[in-house]
């Protein structure tokens, strides 16, 4: 078993905060984060040796930077692994986004002057004529800002959070709040109109796409 397993949380924090730096502890942490990244991204065949090194370095920096936020509710190694996985996956998603999602992003967040982000949603006519869906369509048009419409649709279309945030000139947490506010507005609008989201969902599921 590794020393990571043998050290308790308190010992880990003490070793990593020591002045001068505890070189052995730092080396063990780096090796551990590297293993987490390699195994966590095992299905990615496009990963290069340099990627592993870059992700490990970034994870190392973040773990050390955020030591004070570790509250001891989990094992130190699990906490550090969560950070390493966040670093690696965020980078990989953004790389995919750059390659595959440019067109979708350009459509949702036009850069041409005079065109605002997230213009009105066009809901398929077969779907939109249903009464329940008119309520939703109206709520989307009247309650949401253009940024909220674009961000919501980008999220549903699988655009990575960091990529959407970058397009909007904001950060992921602010983007989360923007989208959360949009969802709350829509939920409130549906409730006020006497429509339960589950009924709306069932109605949508029941519509044949072939009609």
């Amino acid at each position: 078993m590794s020393r990571l397993g043998r050290r308790n949380n308190k010992e880990w924090l003490a070793a990593l905060r020591r002045e001068p730096a505890d070189v052995i502890a730092l080396k063990e942490l780096r090796g551990y984060l590297r293993r987490v990244i390699i195994r966590g991204t095992a299905t990615r065949r496009d990963l290069r040796h340099e990627d592993i090194a870059d992700f490990t370095q970034e994870a190392m920096l973040r773990v050390l930077k955020h030591l004070d936020t570790f509250r001891g509710e989990a094992a130190f190694r699990t906490w550090a692994a969560a950070i390493a996985i966040r670093v690696a996956f965020a980078e990989l998603r953004q790389r995919d986004a750059r390659v595959n999602r440019r067109e979708v992003l350009d459509q949702l967040f036009p850069v041409q002057p005079g065109k605002s982000a997230g213009s009105q949603w066009q809901i398929d006519a077969t779907v939109a004529r249903r009464e329940l869906l008119k309520v939703l369509e109206q709520a989307i048009a009247s309650q949401l800002t253009s940024r909220q419409r674009a961000a919501l649709l980008a999220e549903i279309r699988g655009i990575p959070t960091r990529e959407i945030a970058a397009r909007l000139g904001t950060n992921p947490n602010a983007l989360y709040k923007l989208i959360h506010d949009a969802r709350k507005k829509l939920k409130l609008a549906l409730i006020r109109a006497g429509v339960r989201p589950e009924d709306l969902r069932d109605e949508l599921r029941g519509i044949s796409p072939c009609k």
């Binding site: 293993r35 990963l47 509710e73 969560a82 066009q122 939703l136 549903i156 992921p172 709306l200 599921r205």
Partner: protein, 89 residues
Amino acid sequence: MQVTRKELIELVELVRVTTSEEIDCSQFLERAAAYVDKTDPDEVPDDFVDVLQHMLVCKECCEELHVLRALVSSRADECDECDEHEHEH
């Protein structure tokens, strides 16, 4: 922007599970390790309702948590010796 029926279903489902107070992705990251260490995959303890709710609305955090749980439960992260034999990427 043309919106498909499938996208509308996803939107309505997101709206359905929306709550007035939610944790964001940074707060989720702070709680994820404790959730993995203290619960079984099918457990829904009251202490972690916020974590589970976030997973319903955030695919990215949900994906990361599943990877973390798989690593921790398989102990694949613990073996120092394996590092020596790790295949080259």
